[in-house]
């Protein structure tokens, strides 16, 4: 455990200095995010007649927040493994005796800092173009469970994606595509209640929909299709099982890689 924390700390320092400070990744990343968000949020203002209700802007803000959380899990955590493979240093990481999970742990603080700033940018863009969002904490317990289960689900998703990257080697377009389709199809972007019935069923079959529904419910934006208490129980259980299974999957892929060698990765 001590070694894991030590490795995670080294990853954190290396990532923070190398990626965010030296290569100005933070500044460029936030600027780029602001522009991409504007590109998709500004046209939404064309759908509005007169004043927007602040709860609707809040809905867009929460949708953006969940979308950004998926992006962070995809590009900060899962793609980290792909990056290590691309640079040809994954072998050295494994040979050093350091756990692959130390890389996940080491990037989490940077991701949280980045996510907070990204959220502030999203808030500004939504406020300027759609109107100030009104977020009210209706149910604090559901909110905490929603945030925790979202973190668990995203960590599990990044393990699953990371394991797939180790197994398949190259998968850039798949990652990009999944990063978009998941929040759309599983109710991350808009409440399940306004989605067609078949999509609601599909969304509830995945662990991704429950945290999103809980967050929207706890912030007074929309009610879940199922009973809130049921969403809490199912969400907490499903996310924990998902994390357990994805950890096993990632470990299995690492063991497989030790037998078969590291795959080669294309740039795109």
């Amino acid at each position: 455990m001590r070694n894991l924390i030590k490795s995670a700390k080294a990853v954190l320092v290396a990532y923070f200095v190398g990626e965010l400070v030296r290569s100005k990744g933070l500044a460029y990343g936030l600027l780029s995010l602001a522009v991409w968000l504007s590109m998709f949020i500004v046209p939404a203002s064309l759908f509005i007649k007169g004043e927007t209700e602040s709860s609707l802007s809040a809905g867009v803000l929460i949708g953006s927040a969940i979308f950004l959380a998926y992006s962070t899990a995809t590009w900060d955590w899962a793609v980290l493994l792909r990056w290590l493979m691309q640079l040809g240093i994954l072998e050295y990481v494994i040979a050093s005796g350091s756990s692959i999970f130390s890389h996940y742990l080491g990037t989490v603080p940077v991701s949280i800092a980045w996510y907070s700033m990204a959220l502030a940018i999203a808030y500004t863009i939504v406020s300027v173009f759609l109107g100030p969002p009104k977020v009210v904490l209706v149910d604090p317990v559901a909110f905490v469970i929603g945030v925790v289960s979202l973190l668990i689900v995203l960590m599990a998703y990044s393990f699953m994606l990371g394991g797939t990257l180790l197994a398949a080697g190259t998968a850039g377009p798949i990652i990009e595509f999944i990063g978009w389709i998941l929040p759309i199809a599983t109710g991350g972007l808009t409440p399940l209640s306004i989605m067609p019935k078949p999509l609601q069923v599909v969304a509830y079959l995945t662990p991704f929909s429950y945290p999103a529904e809980l967050l929207r419910y706890s912030l007074g934006i929309s009610n879940p299709v199922l009973e809130p208490s049921l969403v809490v129980i199912l969400g907490a259980t499903y996310s924990t099982i998902f994390l357990g299974l994805s950890s096993i999957y990632l470990k299995h892929q690492v063991r497989r890689m030790l037998k078969e060698g590291v795959r080669s990765v294309a740039l795109f």
Partner: protein, 258 residues
């Protein structure tokens, strides 16, 4: 050309995602739009139903990106895979190399038009949708062609100024596309933004396409806009040549990073 097509068809997932992206972004934007407002409000402000306007915008976005991305990212890709020294030392010359990059992508963008525009336009506009689709595809090729000099000048100019920084490109790309107005009609932009976007050649072509889709186009206005786009494209060509040569000289002077 054959190498690009071979790569495209061999990597099936690249092919599938390339064709699916316009639908994905259109769905994404429709969901946000429907969550905050109504399609009627959109139709009143823009003049056409949102699904049609946004799918055309998505097609223009991805047909531009398939070409512009290839140009802007190519130096980084070639440096990473180790082919840059061969390209620079090739007798064909770097300028010719960069001018040839968009050609196969033009054809792919036409395929994208067939899979993106035609199904939606035929469903929403019937047989007249086929004609609109053909016009949109033709103008999109002109649009991308006029975009190449500016994209190359800016991309390689940035590389000369600050090294091969993909983060800067990642910021520049969407900024250009916002200014082009793929999802937000230029006639609704504020005056300062409209003036800035007028300096970008494809913005004029995109406006023509959107006016055709909305039914506001006049033959004279279309001609003026297309001539303006082509003139601007030509005006940026010396900048493209200068940036390409400066980048080549820099590589010859400093060497290729490994």
């Amino acid at each position: 050309m054959l190498l690009v097509y071979a790569d495209f068809f061999r990597r099936k997932i690249v092919m599938i995602t390339y064709l699916a992206w316009p639908y994905m972004t259109t769905t994404f934007m429709l969901m946000i739009g429907y969550a905050v407002g109504s399609p009627q409000a959109f139709a009143e402000r823009v003049g056409v139903e949102p699904a049609l306007f946004l799918i055309v915008g998505s097609y223009l976005l991805f047909s531009s990106m398939s070409v512009v991305d290839d140009i802007m990212w190519r130096p980084i890709f070639d440096e990473s895979v180790g082919t840059l020294p061969y390209i620079i030392s090739s007798p064909a010359g770097v300028v010719l190399h960069y001018l040839s990059i968009p050609i196969p992508r033009f054809v792919l963008s036409l395929v994208l038009g067939l899979t993106t525009l035609f199904p939606v336009l035929v469903v929403l506009r019937g047989l007249s949708g086929v004609l609109i689709g053909l016009i949109v595809m033709f103008i999109s090729v002109v649009s991308v062609a006029t975009f190449v000099p500016l994209a190359t000048a800016l991309g390689l100019g940035l590389y000369v100024a600050g090294g091969e920084n993909w983060r800067a490109i990642n910021f520049l790309r969407p900024l250009l596309l916002i200014l082009v107005g793929v999802y937000y009609p230029r006639w609704l932009m504020s005056l300062p933004l409209y003036i800035v976007s007028s300096l970008i050649p494809p913005a004029h072509c995109v406006e023509v396409v959107q006016r055709i889709v909305v039914g506001l186009a006049e033959a004279s206005a279309i001609t003026v806009s297309l001539v303006l786009a082509l003139t601007l494209g030509l005006a940026y060509s010396p900048g493209m040549l200068r940036a390409t040569r400066a980048w080549e000289l820099r590589k010859l002077r400093e060497g290729v990073k490994t």
